[in-house]
Symmetry: C2
Subunit: 110 residues, 2 copies
Amino acid sequence: MPPTRSPLLQGTLDLLVLKTLARGPRHGYAIARWIEDATDDALRIEEGSLYPALYRMERRGWIEAAWGKSEIGQRIKVYSLTTAGRAQLRAESAQWTQFTTAVAKIVGQP
Amino acid sequence: MPPTRSPLLQGTLDLLVLKTLARGPRHGYAIARWIEDATDDALRIEEGSLYPALYRMERRGWIEAAWGKSEIGQRIKVYSLTTAGRAQLRAESAQWTQFTTAVAKIVGQP
DNA sequence: AGTCGTACCTTGACATTCTAGGTACATGCG
DNA sequence: CGCATGTACCTAGAATGTCAAGGTACGACT
């Protein structure tokens, strides 16, 4: 199955990143890899979408960054969830559920 | 519960409209009303989103329009699904299912 | 030496939605 | 009658977010 194309990801990327970081701090590249792995590549996170998204979320105080080093000595920027980020995650989670439930009322019919 | 704000609708509006028209021809305003009613106002369809969307879909050959009159004599533009539209509906339906399934793998965890 | 993979970043194009306006006419109410 | 409200269509411009395509740097492997 090819990865989901088109604008469906819109507005969901934040939720995916927040949820991923809720499992513990990770650096950008690893976040993308983790999401792709966890969904068997059904979701592909482009770097051109990811990095701007991380900036946005940092600016809004949902996540914070710290420079570090990977095991093999590469410089990495490790993001972690803030308290505001955790609240945001709860809000977006609820919104997502509400939205898909509503769509299902239209789409999930014979 | 307030209607879903934010960019989640992105890419889903077409699917919702197609699915609504699959139940039979309807005019633009009625499509919006029907979606809002069927979802208990969880989904709000703005006219500024709807009409451009209808044009798009007509241009792509998924729907076609015919002028008519409402019961009370108002002029209405009635849209109906074309064969291509039916195919598009199937495709977008499948894509939606695939996408939400993938998101659930990330979000639907403890 | 060259390729691949990790890891970061940016620019510009693109698509889509929303805000906020506008027109026209019918109905109901005071 | 005058006015508000609801139906029904339309549009321009702003805002948002994603993506394609580029770039840098360095380590590991061949």
